[in-house]
Symmetry: C2
DNA sequence: GCTAATTTGTTCGTATGTATA
DNA sequence: TTATACATACGAACAAATTAG
């Protein structure tokens, strides 16, 4: 699973937290104890702890020890950079996707302002409707850099584009900037989504970047407001 | 400013990114070049780079180099773990706060389910109304652990509780878990907020923890939906 | 296409500083 | 005061990926 020593220790500690072997608010073994237990250097133990701290699982206090953070369980977890498929699978929902639009377009002035792609760039434009438990809940409007997504088919678009990119094409993704806001439902929303009396939708704008800093995706997700949940753990900047 | 070497290097690189001395999509000097320039060990340079990478500024690629990530500027930034005062100051808005409710209460069964504080715990209950440019936009309902906030006055509540905690009382905050959703406006919302025809509000639930994992704050922020913006950078988990 | 140089990734051992108990 | 625990820093070595020649 994990080819590096620090990832082994990372998994070990994480498992012990999940098992409630290490309890929230309590200390885990000291760095020196872990170093002896795994027969590694203290640096290697520290790297694992730093990783878990940045994930919000641990918190180191100088002179005291390393504490397990408490976490409130969230039943509906739709957080971070997970794609639709991954999050649905976790929550065991019946989902399906339809793709009413799949076309290649050239970015013009107007589209460039929205997507931040350079004018003249070739992109795929997709509209995807996400159905959960029989209701049309999410309308995704995607723009992907075309040459990165070469070989895209409607079948793949229905499945998971991220899976296709990462596993089939070896594309490496750094992360994405998300902007969440609430706006009036557009005609497109009314056409494709099962809106209740609701006249507003939650809009998640998603700018996704490769490892080298290249913007390769702009997506606008329109969520039915009553079904929208977003969670994140934000560390306090010091 | 920064008492450690790696923080000096961190600030130096960050400054060069802000100055557009290091350009998005381009490489910064190699670790060995930086190590020689600062006369430090390579580990120290790497620590600075790792910090900036976790902030979403940089991305390291083995064999290639360290790249500057692109960022889309967001004019209204109300993100991460910033308090109302901090974000208002950044965006140069006229803001004011009123505190219609400030009371000490004992957590009962019902309140415990919402806040996740243990039953019987003593907490401060505050209601704060945030006015931006003359409009009542945000209704905050706060619950703070009482013994951590000893000496709270209405004046401090109007100002910044986080500033009071961190600077005056030396309390160290690890971070907070946020859950964002959209719900129908309550009677309290209608009473205190300047709602338009809007009958929905954006609710941000905020569970904040100390360094040792102790939950010390539960806050439910009710935002007027047309004024709500949330941004975050989410790194792709590998 | 192959080799060598460059660049980041992992790991070790050691030393010293600072905060806490 | 002393011992413990985390924080910072150095120097070194080898691995793995990429690039240059």
């Amino acid at each position: 699973m994990s080819n590096s020593k620090y990832m082994e220790i990372y998994e070990y500690i994480k498992k012990n937290i999940k098992n409630e072997n290490y309890l929230p608010g309590e200390k885990i073994p000291s760095e020196n104890q872990l170093k002896d237990f795994f027969s590694v250097s203290r640096n290697t133990v520290r790297k694992a702890i730093e990783l878990l701290a940045s994930d919000g699982y641990l918190s180191s206090i100088q002179g005291k020890g390393v504490f397990v953070m408490k976490k409130i369980p969230v039943t509906f977890l739709l957080s971070g950079n997970q794609s639709f498929k991954e999050s649905s699978a976790k929550n065991r929902l019946r989902y399906s996707t339809s793709v009413p639009v799949l076309e290649a377009v050239v970015v013009d002035e107007k589209l460039s302002e929205i997507t931040h792609f350079p004018v003249g760039e070739l992109v795929y434009h997709l509209v995807r409707v996400r159905e959960i438990n029989g209701e049309k809940i999410i309308l995704d409007e995607n723009y992907f850099l075309k040459d990165i997504l070469k070989g895209l088919t409607p079948e793949i678009a229905c499945d998971s584009i991220y899976e296709f990119l990462e596993e089939k094409k070896g594309v490496k993704i750094n992360g994405a900037q998300k902007i969440i806001s609430v706006e009036k439902a557009t005609e497109l929303d009314k056409e494709y989504l099962d809106l209740n009396k609701d006249n507003v939708v939650v809009i998640v704008k998603n700018f996704a970047y490769l490892e080298n800093g290249l913007l390769f995706e702009y997506t606008e997700s329109h969520h039915r407001s009553d079904k929208f949940v977003f969670t994140s753990y934000a560390k306090r900047e010091k």
